[in-house]
């Protein structure tokens, strides 16, 4: 199934060149979780990152559905 991963700001450096506006499309097997999707990138999986599914706070073990968007950004002071 096709899902999207969006990386924001400094995490964008890790995206492949075909990514557009920080978003890359990935073909992943059924049963892929938020954790699996984000593990494809070198994103620290601790409290220095925020990872959301379709903009919502979810457990990292949540399985993904076709068309889902996983977004990651580094946890830091706001505006």
């Amino acid at each position: 199934m096709m899902i999207c991963v969006k990386l924001i700001a400094n995490y964008r450096e890790q995206l492949p060149p075909e990514a557009k506006n920080g978003v890359v499309e990935l073909d992943v097997p059924d049963g892929t979780t938020v954790y699996d999707a984000i593990s494809k990138f070198d994103i620290p999986l601790d409290d220095t990152s925020v990872i959301v599914l379709n903009g919502l706070t979810v457990d990292m073990s949540t399985p993904l559905k076709e068309g889902d968007m996983v977004t990651a950004f580094s946890a830091i002071a706001g505006g």
Binding site: K6, I8, A9, N10, R12, E13, N21, G22, D47, S49, V50, V52, N54, G55, L56, T57, T71, F73, S74, A75, I76, A77, G78, G79
Partner: protein, 609 residues
């Protein structure tokens, strides 16, 4: 005592007399400094019911015990007064260099009273204080004023001043310092203008003596190292400043768009941090001795929006940008420069124009009244409105009163997205429930800087809280309000203080901050004591609000937030569930069920009954 000078400079602008006075060490300790000291004097000396633009209003510039010390970001001051926009309290924070120079005059606080008979500026060179004519700079913008006053005083001086917006009493007027830094919110610049006070110029060499200079240096270096390590790894705040935030809030569906009609903006990529960095960034610009350096010097090199200055920050992007539906980055950057030059708060300016755009599109305000079409996304009209507001020209007179008064005048008060008549910052609380509670109860009307729980709900600092739930939010909001009152009183910048200074393990508990305050002042605070002092400050401010007529009956949110569900994004279908949070919040604060501080609470904090 150390850290504080324990000295106040009081300038009566009516008589043009300056006097100095000592601060009681017990008051100093109990109210921390900065914002805390300011509310102590305001509450003690001024009737909270005064007209904010009358000579009776006091205008206080307040530094804290960490201002002008080696503590990382010890470069802040607060401007505290009664707000002409809200009728409640104004306490607006700014950094840059002026606050450090102000503290080096040997005074912690400047209190301005009365009204000069003609435009003046006040020059403070340590004990030499002069009230001088400002006739030659009246009418000039912030940049020109700053250059002229530095040229005629000293290159070693630093300037805080108002621009045309403050002179003309626009209710979103800011007090600008070092040209680009703003004590922005709640119309503090209009209060300064009402006193005919164009500028304050500060210079001196009186750094506050420290209780433990070596200890202070060691802890400051250690803290700065943590900031440095993150900067090395590629900290967003260094690379982008706050301009990376639109992508975050857009992802969460809480990016104010079209006067909060939507929570996502389809053209966000045109105006985000990457676009700004790639097109207009020249270099980073720190406030004095800041290890993070989140400011940015930018330039639009040519074309109709040519200009150079600092910013824009996120809050400007979410108001003059997405709030107004503007996706032309050059125009948005130009609008930001203009606000800085005219001396205006970009949030209230942008969101007032956004409200006017909605009223225009709905046919409630005609093109004849405005003088031109004013559709969402029309960046040239947005820029034209900024000029009209600053100079009170035509429809600009209505805009200059802020969105609440504007919407009321044209018969649709429900379109003003304000609390206590102050415009919302860039987090739609329908998708960030804790922010909703904060806006509803804040002592200065809607403001993220009153206790920014977006740190947890949005940015995951120190931990990510679900922004859509109400559970636990009353405690969280109270804790953040007190934490921000503490930071604002200490003289630090919240960006660095919350993440790096509060505690070593990055929790929101002021272990290291209280240690820094002790090394500076020798006051021997425990973390619990500084938090209690912050509670004292917050509660006394609440007492001020009650006496000013801005009490619990104003602890609410505008119609859109309570009754119009977000139509898009992850928070689609949500409104703010304020009634689920407000009663518990009052309990957390030690207030009764109607929202008044209880006698027990006042007694516990040692406040007047």
């Amino acid at each position: 005592m150390y850290g504080w000078h324990l000295k106040i400079l009081r300038v009566n602008l009516t008589t043009r007399k300056a006097t100095t006075e000592d601060v009681d060490p017990k008051i100093a300790r109990d109210y921390l400094g900065g914002r805390g000291w300011a509310i102590h004097y305001l509450y003690k000396e001024m009737d909270p019911a005064v007209d904010p633009l009358s000579p009776e209003n006091m205008l206080i510039f307040a530094t804290g015990p960490l201002t002008a010390t080696p503590a990382p970001t010890g470069n802040r001051y607060m401007v505290v007064t009664k707000s002409p926009l809200t009728g409640a309290l104004a306490h607006s924070n700014s950094g840059g260099e002026f606050p450090t120079w102000m503290k080096r005059t040997g005074f912690d606080l400047f209190i301005f009273e009365g009204k000069a008979s003609e435009p003046v500026y006040v020059l403070v060179n340590e004990d030499q204080v002069e009230v001088k004519s400002a006739a030659h700079v009246w009418g000039k913008d912030v940049h020109e004023t700053t250059d002229i006053l530095k040229a005629e005083t000293s290159d070693d001086a630093r300037v805080a001043c108002i621009g045309p917006a403050g002179e003309n009493l626009a209710l979103m007027a800011a007090i600008m310092n070092d040209k680009h830094r703003a004590a922005a919110r709640s119309g503090v610049g209009a209060v300064m203008g009402s006193k005919n006070l164009k500028a304050v110029v500060a210079m001196g060499n009186k750094n506050p003596p420290l209780h433990d200079t070596e200890g202070m240096r060691a802890l400051s270096v250690d803290t700065s190292k943590n900031v440095g390590a993150d900067v090395k790894k590629g900290s967003n705040m260094r690379i982008y400043g706050t301009s990376y935030v639109p992508q975050v809030t857009n992802t969460l569906g809480i990016l104010p768009t079209h006067n909060f009609l939507q929570g996502t903006f389809e053209h966000v990529n045109n105006i985000d941090g990457d676009a700004l960095k790639n097109q207009y960034l020249i270099r980073h610009t720190p406030c004095y001795r800041c290890p993070l350096s989140c400011g940015r010097l930018t330039e639009v090199p040519d074309g109709p929006y040519k200009g150079k200055g600092e910013g824009p920050e996120y809050e400007t992007i979410s108001s003059l940008g997405t709030g107004c539906g503007v996706s032309n980055l050059a125009a948005l950057v130009k609008a930001n420069y203009l606000c800085n030059e005219y001396g205006m708060d970009t949030i209230t300016t942008g969101m007032t124009i956004a409200a006017a755009m909605e009223m225009y599109e709905k046919g409630y305000i005609s093109e004849d009244v405005i003088g031109m079409p004013l559709k969402f996304g029309d960046h040239d009209a947005m820029i034209a409105m900024i000029k009209k507001m600053a100079y009170m020209e035509g429809f600009g007179k209505d805009l200059a009163m802020g969105s609440y008064r504007l919407a009321e005048k044209y018969g649709h008060p429900e379109l003003a997205v304000t609390t206590r008549k102050q415009e919302f910052p860039g987090y739609d609380p329908r998708g960030s429930q804790g922010m909703g509670l904060l806006y509803a109860t804040s002592n200065k009307g809607a403001s993220h800087m009153e206790g920014d729980v977006a740190y947890e709900e949005v940015f995951g600092v120190p931990v990510k809280e679900n922004p859509l739930t109400t559970e636990g939010k009353p405690e969280l909001v109270k804790h953040f309000e007190d934490s921000f009152a503490l930071i604002d009183s200490s003289g630090l910048c919240v960006f660095v203080a919350i993440r790096y200074v509060f505690s070593k393990d990055r929790m929101i508990w002021p272990e290291r901050l209280s240690e820094l305050m002790n090394l500076s002042t020798g006051a021997g605070y425990t973390p619990a004591e500084v938090m209690q002092a912050a509670d004292r400050v917050y509660t006394l401010e609440r007492m001020f609000l009650i006496k000013a007529g801005s009490g619990p009956e104003h602890d609410t949110l505008p119609h859109r937030m309570l009754h119009e569900p977000l139509p898009d994004g992850p928070a689609k279908g949500r409104v703010v569930e304020l009634d689920k949070m407000l009663p518990d919040f009052y309990k957390e604060r030690g207030w009764d069920e109607k929202g008044y501080p209880t006698q027990e609470k006042l007694m516990e904090l040692g406040l007047p009954m």
